[in-house]
């Protein structure tokens, strides 16, 4: 059974459309939700978290309809984007209180709170009220409250905001660990290379609509309009270029200026690589490096949105 099934999901706020005709299935694991500002990511996550209900269409997560569903809330953890905490309570108090509302008794709630804060690497300075915490500390408290009750599905909206590079590394590691341990994670972020390092499966939103879903290579393959770019650094670029222009799938070959790479654009990257190696050996081209700069998520994102 799929973890999430959305069918023609729509949500609007008065005249403003948050989501429109979104149909998406997420099987499980770690899924990245990406899109520019105003794409509808937060709206989608709020629907999945059960904070709001759809204006149109259906949404089932873990087999349930999320809105105001208490049984569902036991299985889900939500870390919202907004920087909001109970300013007069300490971090452990906030997490403990929310765990008590989850149904745990006092002792268990305290134990779980301590463990969750340790997992998010927040162990010092906790005796102050949260109004005295740094932005990174507050973000970690928000994350801690989302994972403390060991949810089946973790929903995180821009979790890396406010974290320094070390903190981002630690959080990314945490999400990977959770994913490996069987927790489904739905994560929205602007930091594309970090989403890419977390997961292969992404859903790309734009103007409230689903633009693409799948693994990054699969999505890239579908973008026929944009030939794949390959940059090759080699000893004999001219000789190689003469051979490469004969390939049917090669759209263009650009000779390097000075010490730059030979830039090739091809419509079929797999066939290109199959034929490249023997040709390079024949020509004794002396290939030093081969890169495909537009294979990544950022390039896919740019092609789809730009």
């Amino acid at each position: 059974m799929a973890v999430l099934e959305a069918h023609k999901l729509g949500r609007w706020y008065g005249q403003v459309v948050g989501l429109n005709e979104l149909t998406l299935t997420i099987e499980g694991g770690v899924t990245g939700l990406i899109g520019p500002n105003g794409a509808g990511k937060s709206t989608f996550l709020k629907l999945v978290a059960g904070e709001i209900k759809p204006s149109r269409g259906t949404l089932r997560v873990l087999g349930e309809e999320p809105f105001a569903n208490r049984a569902y809330f036991r299985r889900v953890g939500f870390c919202p984007q907004q920087d909001a905490l109970y300013d007069d309570m300490t971090g452990p108090q906030v997490v403990t209180f929310l765990l008590r509302l989850q149904g745990f008794d006092r002792r268990e709630a305290r134990r779980r709170a301590a463990r969750a804060l340790e997992r998010v690497a927040l162990t010092e300075g906790l005796e102050r009220p949260t109004r005295g915490y740094s932005k990174g500390m507050r973000q970690r408290v928000r994350l801690a409250q989302a994972i403390a009750h060991d949810p089946e599905l973790l929903i995180v909206d821009e979790p890396l905001n406010g974290l320094d590079p070390v903190g981002r590394l630690e959080m990314t590691r945490l999400f990977r660990e959770l994913g490996a341990a069987g927790t489904h994670v739905l994560i929205s972020s602007h930091v594309l290379h970090e989403v890419e390092s977390l997961t292969r499966f992404v859903a790309l939103l734009h103007h409230g609509r689903l633009l693409a879903q799948g693994t990054v290579p699969e999505i890239r393959k579908l973008l026929n309009r944009h030939p794949r770019r390959v940059e090759i650094r080699l000893r004999e670029p001219r000789r190689m270029a003469r051979r490469l222009v004969e390939f049917e799938d090669v759209r263009s070959v650009r000779l390097p200026e000075d010490d730059g790479p030979l830039i090739v654009e091809t419509g079929d990257i797999e066939r290109f690589f199959e034929r490249l190696t023997p040709v390079a050996a024949e020509e004794r081209a002396g290939i030093r490096t081969i890169e495909s700069p537009d294979a990544g998520l950022e390039a896919v994102f740019d092609y789809l949105v730009g």
Partner: protein
């Protein structure tokens, strides 16, 4: 998590937070207004009869300004504070009945108000006793304290309920408490019954003849203490039921 358990948990947590807050301190200050006024009046060489110093400040200041104002400050924040602070997201993605948030926080508010207003009323009486060197009869003091506490509970329930569906409950509450009630309660006729302050006055006036001097003009037709209690308790019940229904069904969209 069932309703009662969740309500008690929220009540305990928020009572601790509320009791030591600036909001409570400010309300306590307001509740001392009748006491302050009495000190001023009894400082004159030719002061009014001592019981007047209980009657007039209670009738005009305590019931008409202090009780509604403190209840507004505390009661309107029950749900709206969670929305404004954007912490409602954490609560409404937890497995407990949403109505528990309203009930638990309102209980904490009502208890804090009971302490603040009760102490204010008692302090007023004690101050008059000390400065005027008299004994204020119990049949005056006890109903004032009870009416203040009950009034605080009723007003706060009303404003808490408003907070479940209004964006600015404090402003609407301000209009209601000072404009609408001000007009309804001070105009002669049956419409006085629509104002909560009328029932607070009816409650105290039924217990003692010392209120006779204010029972003039538009205040001649007052109800009985029993009717006042029934009305106030009904207002509390209806407000909380309506508020619970609204908070259970409504979507609270929090902006980032």
């Amino acid at each position: 998590m069932e309703l009662l358990r969740a309500t008690l948990l929220l009540f305990r947590t928020h009572f601790r937070r509320l009791f030591f807050s600036k909001r409570t301190a400010f309300c306590a200050l307001i509740a001392l207004a009748p006491t302050g006024l009495s000190c001023v009046v009894l400082g004159f060489d030719e002061g009014p009869p001592p019981l007047d110093v209980i009657v007039f400040p209670t009738w005009m200041l305590m019931f008409q300004i202090v009780v509604p104002l403190t209840s507004l400050i505390m009661g309107s924040a029950v749900i709206s504070e969670e929305i404004d602070d954007r912490t409602i997201t954490y609560l409404f993605t937890r497995p407990f009945p949403r109505a528990a948030l309203l009930l638990g926080r309102w209980l904490a508010t009502a208890l804090v108000l009971a302490v603040v207003l009760g102490v204010g009323a008692v302090l007023h009486t004690v101050t008059v006793e000390l400065l005027a060197d008299i004994d204020v009869p119990t049949e005056m003091t006890r109903p004032i304290v009870e009416a203040s506490i009950l009034g605080g509970a009723a007003y706060s329930a009303l404003f808490a309920s408003l907070g479940t569906f209004l964006k600015r409950p404090m402003i609407v509450g301000l209009g209601y408490a000072f404009v609408i009630e001000g007009i309804l309660a001070n105009m002669p006729g049956k419409n006085q019954g629509l104002a909560l302050v009328h029932h607070l006055r009816s409650f105290v006036a039924d217990y003692s003849e010392h209120w006779a001097q204010v029972r003039q003009g538009p205040f001649q037709e007052l109800g009985t203490a029993h009717d006042a209690v029934v009305t106030l308790v009904s207002v509390i019940a209806v407000a909380l039921i309506v508020g619970s229904l609204v908070v259970t069904r409504r979507q609270y969209v929090v902006t980032s």
